[in-house]
C-alpha cells in the first residue's frame, strides 16, 4: 500500500473514534468499489448498447433495403413483362397492343406514373396513360434515354426528377425515377430499336424512406446512387440550402459495412448497404452527438443510482460500525468514569468474546487499583498520624525545657511564690496539652493554654513585655488544632520583644472573618525582612540558624494536615515595626466526634462541609 495512504489511514485512526474509522473505511471502500463497478458496467453497457444500436440499424437497413429491392424488382419485372410478353413479340402498329399495355398499367398504377415506348430517334410511339408529348421536349437528349441506348443489355434507373415529357394539367407534375431499357421493336413489320421507359412513382420510395426515418430523431437513412448523387435524404432541402452537409460520395464509394468517421462525417457511425439492380447505396447515419444524447438519460440515471446507493452505504456503514463499536465504546465510557476519579465505576462486560475479555480484565484491574488505593490511604493516614505525633512531641520538650529552666531560675532566686504559680500554670498548660490525647480542641481551650503559657513567660521574663488577649466569644466554641498559638507566642517573645526592656507588646486577637476563624499574634518587636518572612513557612526554614522558623512551620503544617491546603499561617513583618502572624482556620464548631470525622475524611472536605 502506498505510504501516503497508510499515513492518511493512521492519521484518521488517530484523530477519529473507532466508529468513524470503521464507517469511513467501509464507506470509502464501498464507494470505490461501487464507482468502479458502475464505470465498468456503464462502459460495458454503453459499448453493448452501441453495438446493439448498430446491429439494430443494420437489421432495419436490411429490411428497408429488402422493401426497396422488392419494389425495384417488381418494376423490373413489370418492364420485363411488358417487353418480353407484349412488345418484343408484337407489331407496335397493331391496334391490340395498346389495350394490353393499358391493362398492365392499371394493374400497377399505384407504383408507377406512366410508361412509354420511344423509337431510337426519340419519337414517342406509345404511352400509357395516353399522353401528348410536350412541345419542345426531346427524350433523346435525356439521360435515361442515352443510358439505355449506350448500354443495351442493362436496365437503367435514373435519379429522381420531375417528369417533363408530357403535357400536364396545372399542379399535376410528378416526381419519377425513370427505368429505361433498350428494346427491339417491330413497327409495320419493320424491326428496329427503341427505348422502353417506365416512370416509377418516386413517392413510393420517398414514403418508404420517410417511414424509415420516422422513429428516430437523430439517426437517419438516406439513399444515393453509386456516384453519390442523393436520391432521397430527409434533409435534402437543407443540403441544397447549405444548412446541412452530407458527404454522400465518401459513403457511396465504400463497400457494404459499418464505418466510423468516414469522409467529412466526423463523429458519426455510417452503415452502408448496396441496393441490388441499381448500384444505389442505402446509408444509415448515427451521429455520435445524437447517440450521446440518447445515452444522456441513462447516464443521469446511473449517477442518480450511484449517489443513492452511496448514501445508503453511508447509512448502513453507520449502523454496522455503531453495532461493532458499541461494546468498545461502552467499555471506554467505563474507563473514562474510572479516569474521572470514580473508584467504583460500573465496568461494561458484553459484546464479542474479545471485548468481554477486555472488560473483565479492566474490571479486575479496577478491583486491584481499589485495593492498592485503600492500602495507600491507610499507609498515608498512618504516616500522617506519626508525623502529627512527631510534631507534637517536638513541642513538648522544647516548652518544658524553657519552663523548667524558668522555675529553676525562680527557685534559685528565692521566688518561691512565683515558682509555685508558674508550676500551677504549667500544670494547667500540660493538662490542655494532653487533652485526653485529642489533637482537636475548642478555641477557648487553646486561648486558655496560651494565657497560661504567657503567664509563665511573663514571670520568667519579669514582665518585660505586655500581653493582651482579645477573643471574640463566637470563636471560642470553634474547633482548632491544639498548641498552635503557643509556638507563635514563643517566637514573638524570643525573637520579638525579649530585648525591649518593658516596651514590648504582644497582642492576641481571635475573631471570625469571611466565615473563617482568624487568630492574630502581633508584636511590636524587631521584625524581619519580607523575603525572610516568606521563607519561614517553607521547608528550608528548618535550616535557619536560630531555628525560629521551626515552630511556625510545624504549626503551619499541622493546620494544613488537618484542615487542608487553604488554611495555615500568614506572616506579615517589617523590620523595626513588628511581626503579625495570622492563624487561618475553618469555622467548625467543636464537638467530641470531630476529630474522628476529620481523620476518616479529607480535612478540607470536612471543613467545607461544616461551613456549608
Amino acid at each position: 500500500m502506498d505510504k501516503r495512504i497508510i499515513r492518511l489511514r493512521d492519521r484518521l485512526y488517530e484523530a477519529a473514534g473507532i466508529q468513524t474509522a470503521i464507517a469511513v473505511s467501509f464507506t470509502l471502500i464501498f464507494s470505490l468499489v461501487i464507482v468502479l463497478l458502475s464505470l465498468v458496467l456503464y462502459s460495458q453497457f454503453s459499448a453493448r448498447s452501441r453495438g446493439m444500436n448498430i446491429d439494430s440499424t443494420e437489421r432495419f437497413l436490411n429490411q428497408t433495403r429488402t422493401s426497396l429491392e422488392d419494389y425495384l424488382r417488381s418494376m423490373r419485372r413489370f418492364s420485363d413483362a411488358m417487353y418480353y410478353t407484349s412488345i418484343k413479340n408484337s407489331d407496335l402498329d397493331e391496334s391490340g397492343l395498346y389495350s394490353e399495355l393499358n391493362l398492365m398499367y392499371e394493374a400497377n398504377k399505384d407504383d408507377l406514373i406512366s410508361f412509354a415506348i420511344f423509337s431510337d430517334d426519340g419519337t414517342l410511339i406509345s404511352a400509357v396513360p395516353v399522353s401528348v408529348r410536350k412541345e419542345g421536349a426531346d427524350p433523346s437528349s435525356q439521360e435515361w434515354f442515352q443510358a439505355a441506348m449506350e448500354e443495351v443489355e442493362n436496365l437503367h434507373f435514373s435519379v429522381p426528377h420531375v417528369q417533363n415529357l408530357f403535357e400536364e394539367t396545372a399542379g399535376q407534375y410528378h416526381w419519377v425515377i425513370s427505368l429505361s431499357r433498350s428494346i427491339q421493336l417491330t413497327r409495320g413489320g419493320v424491326p428496329g430499336m427503341g427505348v422502353l421507359l417506365v416512370d416509377m412513382n418516386f413517392s413510393r420510395i420517398a414514403q418508404m424512406l420517410a417511414r424509415a426515418n420516422e422513429d428516430s430523431s437523430y439517426q437517419y437513412i438516406y439513399l444515393c446512387d453509386r456516384d453519390g448523387s442523393i436520391i432521397y435524404h430527409p434533409r435534402q432541402r437543407l443540403i441544397e440550402e447549405g444548412l446541412f452537409r452530407e458527404d454522400a460520395l465518401a459513403a457511396a464509394s465504400r463497400p457494404d459495412g459499418t464505418y466510423e468517421n468516414i469522409g467529412s462525417g466526423q463523429g458519426q457511425i455510417t452503415v452502408v448497404k448496396t441496393v441490388s439492380y441499381t448500384g444505389w447505396k442505402l446509408i444509415s447515419v448515427i451521429p455520435e452527438a445524437g447517440w450521446q444524447l440518447g445515452m444522456g438519460r441513462f447516464r443521469y440515471l446511473v449517477i442518480l443510482l450511484i449517489s443513492l446507493t452511496l448514501i445508503g452505504v453511508i447509512g448502513i456503514t453507520q449502523l454496522v460500525s455503531r453495532q461493532i463499536s458499541r461494546p468498545l465504546l461502552q467499555l471506554n465510557e467505563s474507563v473514562r468514569d474510572l479516569e474521572s476519579g470514580n473508584l467504583y465505576p460500573e465496568i461494561y462486560i458484553g459484546g464479542s468474546r474479545e471485548v468481554r475479555h477486555l472488560g473483565q480484565t479492566v474490571e479486575a484491574s479496577v478491583r486491584r487499583i481499589r485495593a492498592l488505593m485503600q492500602d495507600l490511604v491507610v499507609q498515608q493516614e498512618l504516616k500522617r498520624q506519626s508525623e502529627l505525633d512527631a510534631l507534637q512531641s517536638q513541642i513538648n520538650p522544647h516548652f518544658l525545657y524553657n519552663t523548667l529552666d524558668s522555675v529553676v531560675w525562680m527557685i534559685e532566686g528565692g521566688h518561691d511564690q512565683e515558682a509555685v504559680r508558674m508550676i500551677g500554670d504549667l500544670a494547667s498548660l500540660l493538662r490542655i496539652s494532653i487533652s485526653q490525647g485529642r489533637t482537636i480542641i475548642p478555641v477557648a481551650d487553646e486561648i486558655r493554654h496560651a494565657r497560661a503559657y504567657m503567664e509563665i513567660q511573663k514571670i520568667r521574663y519579669r514582665n518585660t513585655f505586655e500581653v493582651d488577649f482579645e477573643v471574640s466569644p463566637e470563636v471560642e466554641s470553634m474547633a482548632t488544632v491544639k498548641l498552635i498559638i503557643q509556638p507563635i507566642l514563643e517566637n514573638a517573645i524570643y525573637y520579638g520583644v525579649r530585648e525591649m526592656d518593658g516596651e514590648g507588646e504582644i497582642r492576641v486577637r481571635a475573631y471570625l472573618e469571611g466565615g473563617d476563624v482568624w487568630i492574630d499574634v502581633e508584636d511590636n518587636g524587631i521584625g524581619i525582612p519580607e523575603d525572610q518572612a516568606k521563607r519561614l513557612l517553607t521547608e528550608r526554614s528548618r535550616e535557619l540558624v536560630h531555628g525560629n522558623g521551626v515552630g511556625l512551620l510545624n504549626v503551619h503544617s499541622r493546620i494544613r494536615l488537618r484542615f487542608g491546603q487553604d488554611y495555615g499561617l500568614v506572616i506579615e513583618s517589617e523590620p523595626d515595626e513588628g511581626t503579625r502572624v495570622r492563624i487561618h482556620l475553618p469555622a467548625i464548631p467543636y464537638r467530641e466526634t470531630l476529630e474522628a470525622e476529620l481523620s476518616s475524611g479529607a480535612g478540607k472536605e470536612g471543613a467545607d462541609g461544616e461551613q456549608g
Binding site: A170, Y173, R235, Y300, I303, L304
Partner: protein
C-alpha cells in the same frame, strides 16, 4: 461515537445528496421532454399554395428542433392591426415564438413591442422593423427586396432579348415595406435602362379586370405572387403577347412557366425563411444568450429554360406527391 466524529462523512453525504438531486432533475427533465416549444405562424391566407415552401421549411425545423409549428388559420386581413391582435391571441394561447409575415408595415413595430416583450418574434419577407433593439426579441427574415426588384428587371430584359421600351408594374401590397423596396429597386433599374413605366398598379381585388383597361406595355413586372397569378390569368384570357415576369413561389407558377405564360420568375428562399426563423427561435428559447439576428434570404431566377434543372426542380416542385 462522539457526534463530532460524524463530520468526516457529512461533506460526502452532502455532495452525494446534491449529486442525486441534480441527476434526478436532469433525468426527469429528459424523461419529460414532451414539452416542445410552440411557434405560431401568422401569414395572410394561410391555406394558400404560395406558402408551400414556407411550410416545408417550418416542418423541417419542427422535426430537427423538436418544435410544434402552429399555422394559425387565416383568411384575408383587413389591416395589420387585425394580424397583430391574432398574434397576441396566439401568444396568450401558449406560443413561445411568433413567425409573422405582416400585411402592412406601418405601426408594426409599435404593435409588436408589447408582444415582443414576452415572446420571440420573427418577421418574414419584410424588413418593416429596422430597429431590433427590443431586447433582441424581434428579427426579420427577408431577401434584399430592393436588389430583388432590380434583378427581376435584369432577368426580364435578358429574357426579352430586345430591350423593351415600356413596362407596367403590378406592385402588390404597398403597405408592406418589402414591396415598396422591390418597387423602388425595379423602378430605378428600369429607369437606368431607359424603360419607361407606363403604369403601376398596387394590389386590388380585381386586378385582371383593371389590366383590360390599361395600355399594353412591352412587359409586365409583378412584384408579388398574387399579382403575378392575376397577370397570368389576364394574359391567358386576353391572349396577349406581353412578356410577364414576376416574383413568387406558388405551386402553379411551374405550370405557367412551362407553358411560357410567364417568361421568368424570381423565387425567394421561403423554405430557408421558415427553417432558419424557426431554428433561430428554438435556439434562442433553449439558450437565452443566443441573440435573434436578422436573416438575409437568397432568391433564385427561374426561367422555362432552367426550370427542370436538378437544383431548380425542388424549388418549383417542393412536394414529392
Amino acid at each position: 461515537m462522539e457526534n463530532r466524529d460524524n463530520i468526516y462523512l457529512i461533506p460526502l453525504a452532502v455532495i452525494l445528496i446534491l449529486l442525486a438531486v441534480w441527476s434526478a432533475t436532469e433525468f426527469f427533465e429528459l424523461t419529460q421532454s414532451d414539452h416542445r416549444p410552440v411557434i405560431a405562424v401568422l401569414v395572410e391566407d394561410s391555406e394558400s399554395g404560395r406558402w408551400t415552401q414556407l411550410r416545408l421549411g417550418l416542418e423541417q425545423a419542427q422535426q430537427d428542433y423538436n418544435l410544434r409549428i402552429r399555422f394559425v388559420q387565416t383568411g384575408r386581413y383587413e389591416s395589420v392591426e387585425d394580424q397583430l391582435v391574432q398574434a397576441g391571441a396566439a401568444a396568450k394561447e401558449g406560443a413561445d415564438g411568433i413567425f409573422l409575415i405582416p400585411v402592412g408595415s406601418e405601426g408594426t413595430q409599435e404593435g409588436l413591442s408589447d408582444l415582443a416583450f414576452s415572446r420571440m418574434v420573427v418577421l418574414g419577407e419584410t424588413d418593416a422593423v429596422k430597429d431590433t433593439s427590443e431586447g433582441n426579441r424581434i428579427a426579420v427574415a427577408c431577401p434584399d427586396n430592393r436588389a430583388m426588384g432590380a434583378d427581376l428587371v435584369r432577368m426580364a430584359l435578358r429574357e426579352e432579348g430586345k430591350t423593351p421600351r415600356t413596362a407596367g408594374i403590378l406592385s402588390g401590397n404597398q403597405d408592406q415595406a418589402g414591396l415598396r423596396d422591390r418597387l423602388e429597386g425595379a423602378r430605378d433599374f428600369l429607369e437606368a435602362q431607359g424603360v419607361s413605366v407606363i403604369w403601376d398598379r398596387p394590389r386590388s381585388g380585381s386586378l385582371a379586370d383593371e389590366l383590360n383597361g390599361l395600355e399594353e406595355p412591352d412587359m409586365i413586372l409583378a412584384l408579388e405572387d398574387e399579382a403575378l397569378l392575376a397577370a397570368a390569368d389576364w394574359k391567358q384570357a386576353a391572349g396577349a403577347g406581353t412578356g410577364l415576369y414576376g416574383i413568387g413561389c406558388s405551386n402553379t407558377l411551374a405550370w405557367l412557366l412551362d407553358r411560357g405564360i410567364i417568361g421568368g420568375v424570381i423565387v425567394p428562399d421561403e423554405f430557408g425563411m421558415g427553417y432558419r426563423s424557426a431554428a433561430m427561435i428554438a435556439d434562442r428559447l433553449e439558450i437565452r444568450s443566443v441573440p435573434l439576428q436578422d436573416i438575409t434570404l437568397s432568391y433564385t431566377e427561374v426561367t422555362p429554360a432552367n426550370m427542370y434543372e436538378e437544383s431548380i426542380e425542388r424549388l418549383l416542385f417542393p412536394e414529392i406527391e
